[in-house]
């Protein structure tokens, strides 16, 4: 066969797959916006989706400016350097350790930062003002995500000690989950939380969103091998098997505990399953992946039932789904990783207990940093401006208040404002 010459060390097959994987992960963020928007009340639909859209804008820019460099440029064990800032030196030459151009590597990793940033919004929907939210994610996407990514993938201290995290149990899943936990604590509960029923206004969005997220996750996990080699194929296949098992177990739990198999439960199960397998995808056998999928259902399910009885209005259960799911996966590796499948290292069950140790350390350090850093950042933003809308505005709904739009309008009662009045109208408001 003929292949157009590519610069030394770049593989056509790997590049082809990584282009797709990157596009798939990018698509996950609007899918997440859809998923989240379905879980809120209709008067907050657009605001909720806009928090994901905001991540697509803000986090991409911060990533190109400094985030990528802080995460992946060589630095110390805690954080990377700045020599790739402004994408300096990021070109067509392959990223070390891969056979794809660094430019593509940077784009792939960017999509991870974007969706992780968007995930955190689940904790503060329906009440946080949009302006402060923008400030927050600008800071968070620079000071939280890149640090965690550096620890496990950028040559940081966890990587150095051999913590295994295939596609982001630490930076993405626990990172978003425990940041969400902190955000919910700082921003506080919605005014009617615990007093009134705050129901998902469109479960179809949640189902379709979950379906698209699963679709994107094949790029997320399957692409985290940066190639079409063994680890990717294994990770990809496990991303099919694990969530399916989570789904089946969730059905059973719902049937037994809730008396009925719920659709929103099923959508949640898909996410939890994908989250659970994320860190372990390329490290464990397909059969263990099914086991992990099944196992991951329990902690998240329990948390999702218990949390609403507390005062913690972590509204869309990011902690339960991502924090706990990621935790389960990270620890699972410590037991059931198999060198025979991943060619790198084995877990305790296969004669290498040290692996478990460093998985546990990661499972403590990641959440701790995510929680603390997020808590501090939000407090800081809170010093500059009010984090949440007035209770009157909250009652009116964030769509009208923050965006001056409604998700679903019938033109009735809408009087066209003509240019001249217009500015007037605007001013008067």
């Amino acid at each position: 066969m003929t292949v157009l010459p590519l610069p030394g060390g770049v593989s056509a097959g790997d590049t082809a797959w990584m282009l797709v994987a990157t596009a798939l992960v990018l698509m996950m963020t609007p899918a997440l916006g859809l998923f989240y928007a379905g879980l809120v009340r209709s008067k907050n639909t657009l605001n909720t989706f806009m928090m994901s859209i905001a991540a697509l804008g803000v986090a991409t820019v911060t990533w190109a400016l400094v985030g990528y460099s802080l995460a992946f440029a060589s630095g110390d064990g805690f954080i990377g350097g700045l020599h790739n800032a402004l994408l300096h030196g990021v070109g067509f030459a392959p990223r070390a350790g891969t056979a794809i151009p660094q430019l593509l590597f940077m784009a792939f990793e960017a999509t991870f930062c974007i969706i992780t940033t968007a995930l955190v919004s689940g904790a503060v929907v329906e009440r946080m003002r949009f302006g402060p939210f923008l400030m927050f994610i600008a800071l968070w996407s620079v000071l939280v995500y890149p640090v965690l990514a550096h620890w496990v993938w950028g040559g940081g201290w966890l990587a150095h000690h051999g913590t295994l995290d295939f596609a982001g149990g630490v930076p993405v899943e626990m990172g978003s989950g425990f940041s969400a936990f902190a955000a919910a604590t700082v921003v506080g509960a919605r005014k009617d939380y615990g007093r009134q029923a705050l129901l998902p206004h469109n479960a179809m969005y949640a189902l379709l969103g979950a379906g698209l997220l699963w679709f994107g996750w094949f790029g997320f996990n399957g692409g985290s091998g940066y190639s079409v080699g063994h680890p990717s194929v294994l990770a990809f296949t496990n991303t099919l098997l694990a969530p399916a098992c989570t789904l089946v177990v969730w059905f059973a739990l719902d049937a037994v505990i809730g008396r009925r198999v719920t659709a929103i439960g099923a959508a949640t199960a898909i996410i939890v399953g994908c989250v659970g397998i994320t860190p372990a995808a390329g490290y464990i056998s397909p059969m263990w992946a099914m086991g992990l999928g099944a196992l991951a259902a329990f902690p998240s399910y329990a948390m999702i039932r218990w949390r609403p009885r507390t005062r913690l209005d972590e509204s869309l259960d990011v902690l339960a789904a991502h924090g706990f799911g990621g935790l389960t996966g990270i620890l699972f590796i410590g037991f059931f990783a198999q060198r025979s499948w991943n060619g790198i290292s084995s877990g305790a069950a296969y004669g290498h207990p040290r692996q478990l140790l460093w998985q546990v350390v990661a499972a403590l350090a990641g959440p701790a940093y995510a929680f603390a850093a997020t808590w501090i950042l939000l407090r800081l933003v809170g010093l500059m401006t009010r984090l949440r809308a007035s209770s009157g505005d909250e009652a009116l709904g964030m769509d009208v208040v923050e965006h001056g739009e409604e998700a679903y309008t019938t033109g009735e009662g809408a009087i066209l404002v003509m240019p001249e009045e217009h500015t007037a109208g605007g001013r008067r408001y």
């Binding site: 029923a197 705050l198 129901l199 998902p200 809730g258 009925r260 719920t262 929103i264 439960g265 949640t268 999702i304 039932r305 218990w306 949390r307 609403p308 009885r309 259960d317």
Partner: protein, 117 residues
């Protein structure tokens, strides 16, 4: 003239329309409402949140009729809407002082008998 208001089950709406049609009541307005009455509440669960749903879907008919049509209208409504189960709904009759057909300005009895195409 009277304004007859009826609350019925949504799944019976078409039967009611048919019954009204047969009784030659041609003009009606209809809207979706939610109602609470003697029905059992439903329990629903959304993630960790469990709720009692106190309202059930109903359809509300509003029909202006001249005196001679009042009873036939009520009969038609009952015929079309009854299942015998709790939740069949109610009929309310209110005195109607005036009725005007917007298109023509015709009033009262005339106004409530639609033209046949």
């Amino acid at each position: 003239m009277k304004l007859v208001i009826a609350i019925v089950r949504p799944e019976k709406a078409n039967d009611v329309l048919e019954a009204l049609y047969r009784a030659e009541i041609r003009g009606v307005s209809m809207s979706r409402v939610q109602g609470h009455g003697g029905e059992l509440d439903r329990v629903e669960t959304y993630r960790g949140t469990t709720v009692k749903m106190e309202l059930s879907e109903k359809v509300r008919f509003e029909i202006a009729v001249s005196e001679p049509f009042v009873q036939p209208t009520i009969d038609a409504l009952c015929a079309g809407a009854r299942t015998g189960e709790v939740g069949d709904g109610k009929i309310f009759v209110v005195a109607l002082e005036r009725a005007i057909r917007i298109r023509t300005g015709e009033t009262d009895a005339l106004a409530v008998t639609p033209v046949s195409p």
